[in-house]
Symmetry: none
Subunit: 400 residues, 2 copies
Amino acid sequence: MANFDLMRELSAETPSKIVMLVADGLGGLPGPEGLSELEAARIPNLDQLASESICGVIQHVLPGITPGSGPGHLALFGYDPLVFDIGRGVLEALGIGFDLQPGDLAARGNFCTVDEAGRITDRRAGRIATDLNVELCKVLREIKLPGVEAFVEPVQDYRFVLVLRGPELSEGLTETDPQWEGLTPLLVQARRPEAKKAAALANEFVAKAEEALKGKQPANMVLLRGFSNRPSLPSMHEVYKLRAAGIAIYPMYRGLAQLTGMSVFPGGKDFMEEIQVAKERWGDFDFFYIHYKYADSAGEDGNFKGKVEALERLDAGIPAIRALGPDVLMVTGDHSTPSVLKAHSWHPVPFVLHTPWRYPDDVRAFSERDCRDGDLGRFAATDVMPLAMAHAMKLAKYGA
Amino acid sequence: MANFDLMRELSAETPSKIVMLVADGLGGLPGPEGLSELEAARIPNLDQLASESICGVIQHVLPGITPGSGPGHLALFGYDPLVFDIGRGVLEALGIGFDLQPGDLAARGNFCTVDEAGRITDRRAGRIATDLNVELCKVLREIKLPGVEAFVEPVQDYRFVLVLRGPELSEGLTETDPQWEGLTPLLVQARRPEAKKAAALANEFVAKAEEALKGKQPANMVLLRGFSNRPSLPSMHEVYKLRAAGIAIYPMYRGLAQLTGMSVFPGGKDFMEEIQVAKERWGDFDFFYIHYKYADSAGEDGNFKGKVEALERLDAGIPAIRALGPDVLMVTGDHSTPSVLKAHSWHPVPFVLHTPWRYPDDVRAFSERDCRDGDLGRFAATDVMPLAMAHAMKLAKYGA
């Protein structure tokens, strides 16, 4: 938390502008020809940027720890992900663009199938279609709970989000999913005294849902997991005195940005439209977070070639961002997603920060290996914002 | 402690296997020809391993701090040595293979010589032979203390171990050795209220020992130091969900492994027999700690050539370990023991971790200098286990 306290103390509002371009799942591993996705991609603009910038590789949590998107982004924005926790229910709600309010309690829901004795026979209700999910959520919306509002929103297939809104709804609840078929759903229990009210309401919701879904096989019951409150984070403005904007095509990333108090903007339908949004709002903000999703999606699919192409499309947008004339331009990722692993990984992520205040070095390409040998070496993602603030001349000196 | 909490939360039991080979006192310094022991040794198997792995150098405590064997090993196993303390009495007891139980209070003992006025004339009793020590320990074993058992075990020359076993025997005691000859032994004092009972018993033991040893010059008195309780550490199974085995020829290293809940196995008479033990128990465990002593012994003796040869014998065992097919193989040390210093030192220790999930690099040799330029650079020994767990695919991601 030392970083945070120093930023509060030393930051100043200035006209300089910072752009943080986050390529989701940026880092990779060598593929069949011994090159990583970044090394295999033709990315002349990023290579040029790296050769004119300071480079390093960043670690979002700790060595060996694979970050989810929540901790990965929080760390980039300077919020220690071991201190600030984003629950799974909250992330699911952010993912569908649900407008979470302070105090809201969110949970991930599954439709499931139970037999006459109430035992789970399919934890995913035969993976029902999203259309049916939408219809069933309408049924669940009829449920009334005393003193709170209950929002039920479909996600996809058999998954939905439950949000309870009202006074004193604390997280710290156990899940109803027993994880194994053949068992009956569990009662929600409070793991701390202040969560007792929320536990009772959650159990009442489940009982009423069971009643409302009776006979609607295969989706005749619900399971609830990941109960969590919308976290209350100090805002980017409070910490950095930044007027910050978040631009993302996918709702989850706008949701994460919103948690830090950023003004958020849908990114349109592709990367060039996201850049266009930044251009249109250039005068209104001094920090722009732009999210680029497609490197991660291809990596998760194990599609090496697809990730290479996604990185090349990322590269194609760089000149338009540079043309905006940011004082500090950073390109990095929220975690690695190597195609060979088809999943997020713990490998450090390339980082580049364009600034005139640097020593020229030998980095000529934007890749895992080249960046590691850059001026910044391997460092913690929570140091990214202090470095950006410094290079944007937004920090006073510490001590006299 | 963040590492530990994350390991508890994220670790999963899987069939993958991890081998950690600890070469005691591995790191060195340049000798007469400007090469370190590792650089002077012919170690083709370790060089090959390094060129196929990720490398770095590790620091067990903090920069400039020379680790003892206890802190060095604890750090490798992921236990922060600044949090988990192994007292000197406990280490001495582990060194002779004494089966310490939870709650036991151990102390290092010296036979010494006192004059008629009770003043110490030789703190080491003329370095009496071990045979005499064994006889005198039999005399001391006759001492009865109220409500506790007292174990007296010879170590070597003038050194013995005292272990008190019984309820409420707390550490936090001062030593009886005044450190200077010409002074009388000090009374044991409690440094905290809960240690008063132990202090009284220790003083009673010393008084009865003085009585029992009367006339047995030069060993007519005892000095007691390093009173400490057997530490209670969370087990490797609790933290990492690992079924862990420790294989070591010397009892102290089995004792250290046992403190972390490992199942321990005597390593036979040489390194190849230790590897044979791992082979025989390969199906029963998913983590194998193998201890190799001889690099340290030669280093302590200031025997550069001997240490080179010890490293070459270490190298000769590598193919047999690789033939076991571990998913992750690590080779490192618990501290440096440069022959030129004839002692443990603070220098970071080479580390290699064999994994497919890496970027090939330029490291082609296993040495202090080569490993330093590897992918992992210089890092904390407490990060070793999280990295091993990640590369063995035993960790879930952190946050959604």
